[in-house]
């Protein structure tokens, strides 16, 4: 399992810069926002946490199809399906590797974008913390979509449409925790703990359903 983790990590970092594309996309999306709403620094600092979160969500969705597609193309997926290890565990480890390669760079890049958005230090820290806790949930939920995409001949966009509604709770609690850290009356801890709960819950449910979809989509 550890070998699989490092294999996936190396593949996604080395093979054609797949991991960095997500970060680039993230930065581009966030950089486009000021052109849309105008360079009003007060407004930007107010909507900043939400913008950074939405950008991270879209960037996480963008990289999802790489989770199983390469294995499907070179036939390694059939070997994984035939292995004696529980498939759920394999999927879980693959998700972890995928998150380390694509999710973690987003978290690391977020403070820089927070500066662009004229956010306060507390807000930047809060966004970084909530992204660190919340983005694994995006990967685990997205794993179901990625497993479904394996069955589709041309499904990248469709999978984003199917996964996005399920990722909304993560977005809601991530953004509300980030705002709660800045605005005084709202407590930071309850939405943050719910965000953690969503991540833990989806780390169980996501690999299970992804494994189910993988088994059922193989012919």
């Amino acid at each position: 399992m550890i070998a699989l983790f490092f294999r996936d990590l190396k593949l996604s970092i080395r093979a054609g810069g797949g991991a960095l594309i997500g970060v680039l996309f993230f930065m581009t999306v966030v950089a486009v926002i000021p052109f849309g709403v105008g360079p009003d620094l007060n407004l930007l600092s107010r909507i900043g946490p939400a913008i950074v979160w939405i950008g991270a969500l879209l960037a996480a969705l963008l990289g999802l199809d790489r989770l199983f597609q390469a294995e499907r193309d070179d036939g390694a997926l059939d070997l994984i399906l035939m292995k004696e290890n529980p498939l759920v565990l394999t999927v879980f480890v693959k998700c972890l590797a995928h998150w380390t390669a694509t999710g973690l760079p987003l978290v690391i890049a977020s403070p820089l974008l927070g500066l662009f958005m004229n956010m306060s230090e507390v807000a930047i820290g809060a966004v970084m913390l909530t992204l660190l806790v919340g983005s694994p949930a995006l990967t685990f939920i997205g794993a179901v979509g990625a497993a479904v995409a394996v069955a589709l001949p041309r499904g990248g966009l469709l999978v984003s449409i199917l996964v996005l509604p399920l990722a909304i709770p993560v977005l809601i609690f991530g953004v509300s925790a980030s705002y709660a850290a800045v605005q005084d009356p709202a407590p930071f801890l309850p939405p943050f703990l719910i965000l953690m709960a969503i991540t833990l819950f989806s780390s169980v449910i996501g690999p299970f359903f992804a494994a189910l979809a993988l088994r059922n989509s193989s012919d």
Binding site: V144, L152, R154, I161, A213, D219
Partner: protein, 251 residues
């Protein structure tokens, strides 16, 4: 479930038996649906309007049953999805594929009538309230499932993979149901199905219940008809493939 009923249920796995049953049931069901909806519409137009809402209260007689049906349809789809994944019941495949467009239609009716009511009552077509948002997400999920079924070539593989998606998306149904209790919403909480009896005046309750039964019958009638059409469509596709193969052999 005892042995005989299980045997009868698996008898339906034979599409020919299902088609025979469907052709016997459908005329009766259509008549009952038409009667119930006719009576329901008559009652909804003849009862007095609410003293505050006036005539707009009549929108409720369409809105509430449609919203119930939108949720029930997804529940039927989730049950069929379990049937697909656990028992590999061939009719379950057909069932959840046929139900998705119906569910999307009922959800759309609920959304449109709701916003027609919201404009005079709340002063806006749409608010981002928990109940409205979660129903809108339900609508998006229906459309996504329809698109997914269209994108796949092999129907039985499509059925199994979309069954997984349906089960994952089922998490939305309790959110819709309890959204009015968990969050402070503009949408009013449940007033008909409650532990301490309905909190709605009998004058409004009767047309509402009759319309709800009429809509449910409408759903089941359309669902069985759609399942029949889907079975026939698959048979035609199979025969076309066979004919193409024969033609190839002769040539």
């Amino acid at each position: 479930m005892n042995d005989t009923s299980l045997a009868k249920f698996s008898d339906l796995a034979n599409p020919t038996r299902f088609l025979a049953l469907a052709s016997r049931l459908l005329p009766w069901m259509s008549v009952i649906t038409a009667l119930l909806i006719a009576v329901g519409l008559y009652l909804s137009f003849t009862t007095d309007g609410d003293y505050q809402q006036g005539n707009t209260v009549r929108i409720m007689y369409v809105h509430v049953p449609a919203a119930w049906l939108a949720m029930m349809c997804y529940t039927v789809m989730a049950a069929s999805a379990i049937g697909t994944l656990v028992w590999r019941h061939p009719l379950a495949d057909v069932s959840h594929k046929a139900a998705a467009p119906l569910g999307a239609a009922f959800t759309l009716i609920a959304l449109i009538t709701g916003s027609l009511w919201g404009k005079p009552m709340w002063g806006t077509w749409w608010v981002w309230d928990a109940r409205l948002t979660s129903v809108f997400i339900l609508f998006l999920m229906y459309l996504g499932l329809i698109a997914f079924n269209k994108a796949m070539d092999d129907p039985s593989r499509a059925a199994r993979v979309s069954a997984v998606l349906i089960l994952v998306g089922f998490v939305n149904i309790p959110i819709i149901k309890f959204s009015v209790e968990w969050w402070n919403t503009l949408h009013q909480p449940a007033s008909v199905i409650r532990m301490d009896g309905p909190a709605i005046d009998p004058e409004f309750l009767w047309p509402l219940l009759i319309m709800a039964f009429g809509f449910s019958m409408l759903f089941f009638t359309l669902h069985i008809a759609a399942m029949r059409n889907e079975i026939l469509r698959r048979r035609i596709a199979a025969q076309r493939r066979l004919a193409a193969r024969m033609a190839n052999r002769e040539a």
